[in-house]
Assembly symmetry: C2
Homo-oligomer: 391 residues x 2
């Protein structure tokens, strides 16, 4: 069967094979420590679950408007007000089937064939595939620990060309957990204005920041697209619900497109999410954030002590992007060895791009500290054995 | 803000403005009979709702695999076995975020820029927009009551060109409620084989057929893509859950793409849908189908008596596509007049294409018979007045 050309560039996540192999080993009775999963271990907070259950009991199962329940759009606007002291019109807030749906809508209304979109390498792999989906070209800019694995105004200048229409950044970022502070954000937005391109800011890990201020790029500018999600901070991964805030000039086009490609976001998810901003839910989210911080504060020095180099301090999300070159210069092989020989699953750098990918592993701290400790013990033994040449 | 060129062709549903105006009139206290809505008036059957509520109580809120819960894929395979006596491997069954998600996946893995996809005019409007989304060209084939508003082998021959890669059909169809019988299906599939193109069969109204055999195109061939949904027959519109059955050669590409653009379909929706095939749920669905039949059997002769020409008998879905040329030769204006002057909301033909669109209105029978009767009374008075020249 002949496939469309784009399918040659749209790759699976390599970690999927690893996960399948891990499940196989577990079925054989092996214990595996999962540090590869980009999903909180916690279920959805109970007040949100209850709101979802109640809406089902009330038979709220019909379509909502394509842009989402007006009441949910208003709740999100109130959240920007209370959390960031920002007045965002609910009209500019669009509810989507996950942040993935938001990204699809944003790129489909903006990107013509062969248009270029700048993003980081390493970065979230779906971004470049989504640009390819609409026949655009992702420009993968190699970034390193020196710039916190983030774009800079200088890099934007360097990689910009006449057919570049947008740049994407993520703060905190997957896979690095690094963020962009207000000053850097202002400089990036200034540069984008100069280049007359649209900045798309992925804030899906917003709220999951440790020791630093929680802020949104919307406090710097309204002329950007901000993508957010109920998945990570609000613990609603499986519900597939996200949102984006867009300049008012984009709302009509996004409405048209969303009607056609999604009809509407999930109704039960939207009714459940109405409770996501309640004080009861927020208390749970704050406690979880504190727990993620404790995990990071445990795992970060532990990995460093094992010889992983982590020079760009992760300040958010639940990831550590660790340079493993002192242990191996083939992180893909290393991730396979760690699974088979040590029973530890981690994600190889090549899932996030090509730039120095073979030097890096991503560790997720989406497991309780006791499990992370077990993982570290196994890593310790593995590394001791391998430096002795026993592996 | 510069939009992508595709947005010039991706139109909103015209009925959306009409619906907004209807809501406005209702807010002013006017009574409106809604015969424009393409969604069952019934909520999700209670056993399905209960299964969804239970899964939430069990905290099943994490991601599922991109292709869907294995247990749900198996349930659907069992359904093909029990309902159609067909053995379909669960591997070929892919769970999607609505039939919209299925259509997106199917087209994205198949359609290169400028590739052509044949479809009917009139037809479901999102189809041509979805092809445009991926830079393909929809070839809208004018069809009339003579061919039951369906494609024929002759039409396929006539409109096929070297860069045509696929054809789309829908049975029962929106907006016409007409279907394709087994003999016609066989002829279409033969022709597609001859042309070496892929047939995409929309079966989302499957099960909603009256007086005729319920069948699937899969009983004729495995080398086609069949799109189905939990929305219409199973009454799960707001949950956004569908499925498709594809040739095994397409599964890997669709898996890769779904991972990247959706991550996974909704978890609560999938757990709820596990109950969709239970005998309790099926009993409810059968009773609803019988009710839809009663409504059609009432509305069809009533519309004919009013002067609407309906020459292609609707045998499924919940739509009647009525030729209104004896009343008006501008169905768009007529739909507006019916709303404003008669308090009846219907969908204008131009939402479904261009071919004779100004002669047609789509009536949905997604309201109880008493309401439909009220609508018919209002139509009667409106038509009497307008033939007297009073309107």
């Amino acid at each position: 069967m002949r496939l469309a050309d784009r399918m040659q560039q749209i790759q699976p996540f390599f970690v999927m094979d690893l996960l399948a192999r891990a499940r196989e080993l577990e079925a054989q009775g092996r214990s595996i420590v999962h540090m590869e999963i980009g999903e909180p271990d916690f279920p959805t907070p109970s007040p949100i679950i209850e709101a979802g259950r109640q809406s089902l009991a009330d038979e709220k199962t019909h379509y909502t408007p394509a842009l989402g329940l007006p009441s949910l759009r208003e709740k999100i606007a109130e959240y920007y007000q209370s959390e960031f002291n920002l007045a965002i019109s609910p009209k500019r807030i669009i509810i989507t089937p996950g942040a993935s749906g938001a990204l699809q809508l944003a790129l489909a209304v903006l990107v013509n064939p062969n248009d270029k979109v700048i993003m980081t390498d390493p970065g979230y792999p779906c971004n470049r595939h989504m640009v390819r989906l609409f026949e655009g070209d992702a420009i993968n800019v190699p970034v390193d620990a020196e710039s916190q694995f983030q774009l800079t105004p200088e890099l934007l200048d360097q990689y910009w060309s006449d057919d570049t229409v947008a740049a994407m950044i993520a703060t905190p970022s997957n896979p690095t957990g690094t963020r962009i502070d207000k000053k850097q954000m202002r400089a990036l937005i200034e540069k984008m204005k100069e280049q007359d391109g649209l900045l798309i800011v992925d804030e899906i890990y917003q709220g999951l920041v440790y020791d630093v201020e929680n802020f949104t790029a919307l406090s710097v500018s309204n002329d950007i697209v901000v993508i957010n999600s109920f998945s990570k901070y609000f613990g609603m991964t499986g519900w597939r619900l996200g949102w984006m805030v867009v300049p008012e000039a984009l709302v009509d086009a996004i409405d048209r497109l969303s009607q056609n490609i999604f009809l509407a976001p999930s109704t039960p998810a939207q009714y459940a999410a109405l409770d996501a901003f309640s004080s009861k839910s927020m208390d749970i989210m704050h406690a979880r954030r504190d727990e993620f911080k404790r995990r990071r504060d445990y795992l970060l020095p532990a990995l460093k002590a094992l010889g992983f180099k982590i020079t760009a301090e992760p300040q958010g999300a639940f990831y550590i992007y660790a340079d493993c070159s002192q242990i191996s210069n083939d992180s893909f092989q290393l991730s396979n060895d760690l699974l088979e020989k040590a029973g530890v699953a981690v994600t190889p750098g090549k899932d996030f791009g090509e730039h120095k990918a073979n030097q890096y592993l991503r560790f997720s701290y989406t497991q309780p500290i006791e499990i992370l400790q077990q993982g570290v013990e196994r890593l310790t033994i593995f590394i001791q054995n391998s430096t002795r040449g026993a592996v």
